[in-house]
């Protein structure tokens, strides 16, 4: 198991946002967390990333307890997040954004190799490398957000709503790239509201509802589960 989350309870003040969530992810997998707005998907990712702290429960990465490890150390261990809403550094150039993704990396040659890899996946970022991040289109910003996270050479990539606000063609493109990244050996934890798309690329999935996991299984099974179909796929 690459990632294991055990009985996680997270509060925002009095609000019990995650109510005992447990799940796991094996090396090489794409696992998706699907659910409506406010189900606790982003909260889960931010707890794994170390910028939120749980009241109880544990997060293990490669068997190591990282529940209270500082956020920057978690990135160093090989877990990096592409956050919801992309959160590009608008006042930095595309290149500088990518360099910030590589902040924990010290080997210049490795960084250069990684940069070339990211540019191969996202040729458009190369064309725009000297532009300010804030001047990119939504799709380009999403590519930059994923590229930036990849610059840290993660073993596990956390993707929060990569399809948000993008046209169907762009969503298709982004999801193709996500599969490519996975094929090259990076495990992915994918949070999505677009359940159809997420389940079509993921190996397994979990369904979150108001801070609890209500359903889990292979993507195919979930795609054909009548409850999922009704709640998240717009039943036919």
């Amino acid at each position: 198991m690459l990632l294991e989350v055990k009985d996680l309870n997270v509060y925002y003040g009095a609000i019990h946002a995650l109510q005992g969530i447990s799940f796991y992810l094996n090396e090489g997998e794409i696992v998706t967390l699907i659910g409506a707005n406010g189900a606790g998907k982003s909260t889960t990712l931010n707890t794994i990333s170390g910028i939120l702290r749980p009241r109880s429960g544990q997060v293990f990465f490669e068997g190591k307890d990282i529940t209270f490890t500082p956020a920057e150390e978690i990135v160093r261990l090989g877990v990096c997040q592409s956050p919801e809403g992309r959160k590009i550094f608008a006042t930095l150039t595309v290149m500088e954004n990518l360099e910030m993704g590589a902040y924990t990396q010290n080997n210049k040659e490795e960084i250069q190799k990684n940069l070339e890899r990211v540019f191969r996946s996202f040729p458009r970022l190369k064309e725009r490398q000297n532009q300010l991040g804030g001047t990119l289109s939504g799709g380009e910003q999403q590519m930059l957000a994923i590229g930036r996270a990849l610059m840290s050479r993660p073993r596990l990539l956390l993707l929060d709503e990569p399809s948000m606000g993008l046209s169907p063609i762009l969503v298709e493109e982004i999801f193709n790239i996500i599969q490519e990244i996975n094929a090259q050996g990076t495990s992915i934890l994918l949070v999505e509201q677009n359940a159809q798309m997420a389940l079509s690329v993921a190996h397994r999935g979990y369904v979150l509802e108001t801070g609890k996991i209500v359903l889990e299984g292979d993507s195919n099974d979930l795609l054909h589960n009548p409850m999922v179909a009704k709640a998240y796929l717009g039943a036919h």
Partner: protein, 369 residues
């Protein structure tokens, strides 16, 4: 609020065209007045401009610390002027008590004396910069960091408290004493005058009437300030820590997600800003050779006005604002009366806040999702 409730002044300031017209009139009046003075006696005017540049560069070094710290933690660090004072005192002790400025001559007697003095002076400045950086990092760690998630007003009040603490701790008889102390420069002053060429002015001699004089203090201030500004620009634009500073200023949570040690970056920002203030303290004391525990208050406030005028959070803004403040102060002191310089400085602050609170280079506060 609808239009009828506004007073005439508010309408002048808020009305787009009227406001611009008012600004234009004000600018014209200032240009006409300054221009008139310039034509009356060009040498005197150039003398004022030179003095203004000297002061402006010192303000620029202080203002940068305000603006950088504001940019990254949204805090007006009112203790910054006292860090400047601390820098001046460190250099006072290193020169008067420890003769730090003489080490190159003592250690390397074969060195040309002029070069020895330059290296010695730079060592004095460097020691003040490092001391101020350590002081500011300590202040940040003890006083500001615990308040990172507290309301901004708490940190602001704390900054004022830290300022008072540094001043009155400095005033203790066994620290800096409450008295004015004559500052010993690390180098001998050399003066030149310009009149159909540059001539050396012998010590004790009077410059001929109608000439413009300047000293090596001016040269040192300009050269050191420009070196520091170029260095700062390099750090902020080109280095990893500089880019991390800009990323952190823009978005702290995302910076943490990228593995940036945000606390370390904030601490570094305080250190860099304080080291510039430390250098400014040394330069200011060499230009106006007296030190006293409260000497940081007024230059600190003026540099704060400069940072607001330029657009707080903007590094080029702080520089431009400081040069304008230097000129405004010297011209009003020279042509109106000495006490007017403070009145003019704070009038500028009020006008900026009324007319363009974001300053010359400032952007309106971003909405952060």
């Amino acid at each position: 609020m609808n239009n009828e409730q506004l007073t005439l002044l508010q309408r002048i300031i808020k009305g787009k065209w009227i406001g611009k017209g008012f600004l234009a009139l004000l600018a014209l009046a200032v240009i006409w007045w300054v221009g008139g003075k310039a034509l009356q006696s060009p040498p005197l005017f150039f003398q004022q401009i030179i003095n203004g540049i000297q002061l402006g560069f010192v303000y620029a070094l202080i203002a940068l610390g305000y603006t950088m710290v504001y940019g990254i933690v949204r805090l007006i660090n009112f203790a910054h002027g006292d860090v400047f004072m601390f820098g001046a005192f460190v250099s006072f002790f290193s020169v008067s008590q420890f003769q730090l400025h003489l080490w190159p001559i003592k250690a390397l007697p074969s060195l040309p004396p002029a070069l020895g003095i330059v290296i010695g002076t730079l060592s004095v400045i460097l020691l003040s910069m490092v001391s101020c950086a350590i002081l500011a990092m300590t202040i940040e760690r003890i006083a500001y960091k615990p308040l990172r998630d507290a309301p901004r007003i708490s940190a602001l009040i704390t900054a004022i408290g830290v300022s008072f603490f540094l001043e009155y701790f400095g005033a203790l008889p066994f620290v800096f004493t409450p008295n004015f102390i004559t500052y010993k420069r690390p180098f001998d002053i050399v003066t030149w005058y310009i009149q159909g060429g540059i001539h050396r002015l012998e010590a004790g001699a009077e410059a001929p009437p109608g000439s413009v004089i300047f000293s090596n203090v001016l040269i040192i201030i300009i050269v050191v300030s420009i070196l520091l500004l170029v260095g700062l620009n390099y750090i902020v634009r080109q280095t990893k820590i500089g880019k991390a500073m800009r990323a952190t200023a823009y978005d702290k949570p995302t910076s943490r997600l990228m593995g940036i040690n945000v606390d370390g970056v904030i601490s570094t920002t305080f250190a860099i800003g304080a080291s510039l203030a430390g250098a400014a303290g040394v330069l200011y004391a060499t230009a106006y050779p007296q030190v006293v525990f409260w000497m940081g208050i007024i230059p600190g406030l003026k540099a704060f006005v400069a940072a607001v005028l330029g657009g707080i959070g903007s590094i080029p803004g702080a520089f431009v604002g400081a040069l304008i403040m230097g000129q405004a102060e010297v011209l009003s002191a020279g042509y109106i009366s000495t006490p007017m310089r403070d009145a003019v400085a704070f009038t500028i602050l009020i006008l900026v806040l009324l007319i363009r609170p974001t300053g010359i280079f400032g952007e309106p506060e971003r909405e952060k999702a």
